[in-house]
């Protein structure tokens, strides 16, 4: 695709939109909104809450092991960074979050540029706005949830992979793995992306030519980074206790605080007998999507799309999700405009999202603050939210597969056997 750079198009492009959005976000910080959202369970989970991070830092600085108790579940790397380099007053921290979001938006735009081989199109503004104005990513950032930082790292990793820079991509992924273990699912698409490239061949699928040796080499590089960072974490924390409290929490679900995910109420109501089995089942469930999606979209020669789909599945089935996870998924949709015409039910999906997002906030308040609702209300809204996310993923898969078949004109329809 050639760069279509009419003067009006580029002036409405990134150079205007991005600073404008930045200013808007900074203005939002001045409102009382951040304090309102600080403790909201949709926006920050026990693993990503900044309040808990502060508690962890305080305990650490006072000689109490932050991983002895339950409150602080943050990775020791973040603990180290936020107690040293980023030990700043709270308003500056909020600005930091906004800047991280802007970085993520810019990175998303760069991915678009790499994928579409164009610069300065109107879509860039749309991409940036989709990320910065999406309420699913905006609100957690106001709440200073570290999931926003995770999102930025995620996008940066994909950017580096799209640009072919293997070491930065794998290092960013390794760092991301330490603050959010579920991201380890992204290793195969990222490696495939490094070996293939970000350009889309969705419309013309063919098997990818991937050297197994190189893939293994990249995977081992990734694991070396993870191990190094784990070593640094152990050094910072003074013992291996952090593994059980941070990574272990994802598998063992010790904290049953409500969140928009499907796990918490399931395991609240579970008898102790069956808990280990279902914990294992849910964890493996998340793992089994990686291979099929990567294989299928390896043929479509679009590992970036595979990463996009996997993010959608992670958002739905993660153990401690926040609104940031589906936020990243929905924002990433803008870098695949070619599939939009092939979406089968975009409007119901959108309505489901709208419906559940509003109900989530409402029922959470009714249950825990007003005391007039009960847990079932909020649980039902998480089910609808799961359905909304699932519908979005399913539609995206269909569209991604459908696009390769093109059109044959009237009288012909495509179906699956």
């Amino acid at each position: 695709m050639k760069a279509s750079s009419s003067p009006t198009a580029s002036s409405l492009g990134l150079k205007v939109v991005l600073p404008g959005l930045l200013l808007f976000r900074l203005a939002l910080l001045a409102t009382p909104l951040p304090r309102f959202f600080e403790h909201d369970h949709q926006l920050s989970s026990p693993l990503t809450s900044f309040f808990r991070l502060q508690e962890g830092i305080f305990l650490y600085k006072n000689g109490i092991d932050p991983y002895a108790g339950d409150v602080s579940r943050v990775s020791p790397l973040l603990l180290a960074i936020f107690s040293t380099v980023l030990q700043l007053p709270l308003p500056i921290i909020s600005v930091l979050w906004t800047l991280s979001d802007v970085l993520g938006a810019w990175a998303l735009v760069s991915i678009w540029r790499a994928r579409s081989q164009t610069v300065g199109t109107k879509t860039e503004g749309l991409v940036a706005a989709a990320y910065l104005l999406n309420p699913y990513t905006l609100l957690p950032s106001l709440a200073r949830s570290t999931s926003s930082l995770d999102n930025t790292q995620h996008i940066l990793c994909l950017l580096f992979a799209a640009l072919g820079k293997s070491s930065p991509a794998l290092f960013t992924l390794a760092f991301l793995t330490h603050s959010s273990l579920t991201s380890v699912l992204l290793v195969p698409p990222v490696i495939m992306l490094l070996l293939s490239g970000p350009t889309s061949s969705l419309a013309a699928p063919r098997p990818a030519v991937i050297s197994i040796k190189k893939a293994l080499y990249l995977a081992s590089e990734y694991f070396v980074y993870v191990a190094l960072l784990a070593g640094i974490s152990t050094f910072v924390a003074g013992s291996w206790g952090w593994v059980e409290k941070t990574w272990g929490a994802i598998f063992l679900l010790p904290d049953l605080t409500p969140n928009p995910g499907l796990w918490w109420y399931f395991f609240t109501e579970m008898f102790d007998h069956f808990r280990p089995f279902f914990l294992m089942a849910f964890s493996i469930h998340l793992l089994i999507y990686v291979a099929p999606i990567c294989i299928k979209f390896q043929y479509a020669h679009d590992p970036l799309y595979a990463a996009f789909l996997l993010q959608g599945i992670i958002a739905t089935c993660k153990s401690y999700p926040t609104l940031s996870d589906p936020g990243l998924f929905t924002s990433m949709l803008t870098i695949f405009p070619e599939i939009v015409p092939h979406l089968r039910h975009p409007l119901p999906t959108f309505m489901l999202h709208l419906h559940s997002a509003l109900l989530l906030l409402l029922f959470h308040d009714l249950w825990l603050v007003q005391g007039t609702g009960n847990a079932n209300f909020f649980y039902a809204s998480t089910l609808v939210f799961g359905l909304a996310n699932g519908a979005a993923v399913v539609d995206a898969i269909w569209a991604g597969l459908r696009i390769s078949f093109g059109e044959r004109g009237k009288g012909w329809a495509i179906a699956q056997l």
Binding site: G69, W264, T268, N374, V393, W412
Partner: protein, 541 residues
């Protein structure tokens, strides 16, 4: 008749004593039993009655923990409570304090109690020496279950989820042998109730049971009607003296209520206990009733006291010939004026503790300490919270009239809880309160979401949180026989009720099937899509 019986008892006891001495080579120790009833009219019209039963086993020592691997030597007790003694030796406990109380002690109106342990519900703390044979934790489990069986209380619940080891409070009241390092274990159980089934074994541990002496006044129907009632068992060892078991029952009566419509603060044994003392306990070395005479007011105490010590009238129960029934009347008062009560016993330190915050997920604990003295006070503040309450230590703040004074709080211990161990959180600090000020401490907390199986049967009621403890040393001379210059006093705040968010208890199956349905829907659809073949279909016109 009474004299004959008394003679018979004494000779039988002496005979038994002699026989035992002859039969066993192990020395039979001397035992002394003292009983005392103290009645103190309080300024707000109430009456504090305190039953004290002390049994002293002379020259005895607690079992040395290193001997736990071997069999214990036989113990011979006549007056010393056998069941309790066996339990203590089985687990090599050096010092033990168990209290079972109901009600909230009103420090402002009733002053500092003689025994600091006025926590609502059950409270057990013990000092035990280390042993390689059986660990302190295992022995704690043994002693809590043993006491649970002995006193018909649910003390088996004082397990790892309620036990902590404070370091700034609960100093031993007796002596601790220096040959072995000793550890303190403390567990409160605020939701425990006290009733006749706890009094029954209590009475059975006394030498004279409830048949004679001061203990014959212990009528459960009246005792458990008192505004505040509690029983305590305290075992201490004093070097040079021996092992002492102090069992006491304290009840704060409200005669104005018991009198029905009359609203007078006159009291009598008939009103309070519905019983009288008919005969003395023959094995008691000293058995007396002390009545603290009010400093003002025109009152009449009947019958006349046998002796006086300052403003305390003393009745010697062992001299009693006919049934002893005390009564105190204020003949000039037609009615007790509740408004006339001025807190003259106002303590130097007043503590108030509340849970703040709306909503079921977050909250805060606020403790106000008011120092009414002019000098600065330094106290220890101990909080034990069950595992479902998580403190945010970085939010701990001390303010005086809104001004931040974090320098006045010094953290000593913070042992956070974790969901794997479910041990309680222990927060201890030294707090300095300047004279004539009120210091307010606040700390944010989070109310956990616990799983279905962890909720108690009456989940919507909420959970009882044990009271906070403020410990300070003060000059006190209340100790029965021995005077102690510095004695640890403790103030307990009222227990709090916390509402935890509950899941729907009727829903486990429904939740599992609904979530599983959604997940299966997702799984099935995605895999369908990824594995099935696409074909073009020609539509019929």
């Amino acid at each position: 008749m009474v004299a004959v019986e008394w003679c018979f008892r004494l000779t039988s006891v002496a005979l038994l004593h002699g026989l035992l001495r002859a039969a066993s080579a192990a020395p039979v120790l001397e035992e002394e039993f003292y009983e005392n009833l103290k009645l103190t009219p309080l300024p707000d019209g109430r009456l504090l009655t305190r039953f004290d039963f002390k049994t002293l086993l002379r020259d005895a020592a607690p079992r040395a923990p290193h001997t736990l691997a071997e069999e214990d030597e036989p113990q011979h007790y006549n007056l010393f409570p056998l069941a309790l003694g066996q339990l203590l030796r089985e687990h090599a406990v050096t010092e033990l304090h168990l209290t079972l109380n109901a009600g909230q002690w009103n420090y402002a109106a009733w002053g500092q109690p003689e025994d600091s342990g006025v926590a609502t519900g059950a409270e057990l703390w013990a000092w035990m020496g280390e042993s390689r044979a059986i660990s302190v934790k295992d022995r704690w489990k043994g002693i809590t279950n043993g006491l649970a069986g002995l006193f018909c209380a649910t003390l088996g619940g004082l397990d790892v989820r309620r036990t902590v080891s404070p370091s700034v409070a609960f100093q031993p009241e007796g002596d601790i042998p220096s040959s072995t390092p000793h550890h303190l274990l403390y567990a409160p159980l605020p939701s425990e109730s006290v009733c006749t089934e706890n009094l029954t074994p209590f009475l059975k541990l006394l030498p004279c049971k409830s048949r004679s002496g001061v203990a014959s006044l212990l009528n459960p129907h009246r005792l458990f009607d008192a505004d505040w009632h509690g029983m305590g068992v305290h075992v201490t060892w004093e070097e040079g003296l021996g092992v002492m078991v102090r069992m006491n029952f304290v009840a704060v009566y409200n005669p104005t209520r018991l009198m029905g419509l009359q609203n007078k603060r006159d009291w009598s044994f008939r009103l309070l206990f519905d019983r009288s003392i008919t005969r003395a306990c023959p094995v008691a070395t000293r058995s007396a009733i002390h009545v603290a005479l009010p400093s003002e007011g025109n009152f009449r105490l009947e019958p006349t006291a046998h002796s006086n010590l300052g403003n305390i009238a003393i009745f010697d129960v062992s001299k009693v010939q006919e049934p002893l029934e005390l009564s105190m009347k204020w003949p000039d008062e037609s009615e007790f004026d509740h408004t006339s009560f001025a807190p003259s016993l106002s303590p130097p330190l007043t503590v108030r503790r509340v849970l703040t915050g709306a909503g079921q997920s977050q909250g805060a604990l606020a403790v106000s300490l008011s120092n009414t003295n002019t000098e600065t006070m330094r106290v220890a503040w101990v909080e034990t919270m069950p595992w479902f309450i998580k403190f945010y230590l970085h939010t701990l703040e001390a303010t005086i009239k809104g001004e931040r004074r974090n320098d006045l709080v010094k953290l000593v211990t913070y042992a956070p809880t974790s969901s794997s161990s479910q041990a309680p959180t222990l927060l201890e600090s030294h707090v300095t309160i300047p004279g004539n000020t009120t210091l307010r401490l606040t700390i944010d907390l989070e109310k956990s979401f616990i799983s279905y199986t962890q909720h108690p049967p009456a989940a919507q009621r909420g959970w009882d949180l044990p009271g906070g403890i403020i410990a300070f040393t003060s000059h006190s001379s209340h100790r029965g026989e021995k005077e102690k210059e510095l004695r640890e006093q403790r103030i307990y705040t009222p227990i709090l009720l916390v509402d935890l968010p509950t899941p729907d208890f009727s829903m486990p199956y429904n939740v599992i099937i609904m979530t599983s349905t959604l997940v299966t829907l997702l799984f099935g659809t995605i895999f369908n899509m990824l594995t099935r073949k696409f074909v073009w279909i020609k539509l019929h016109e």
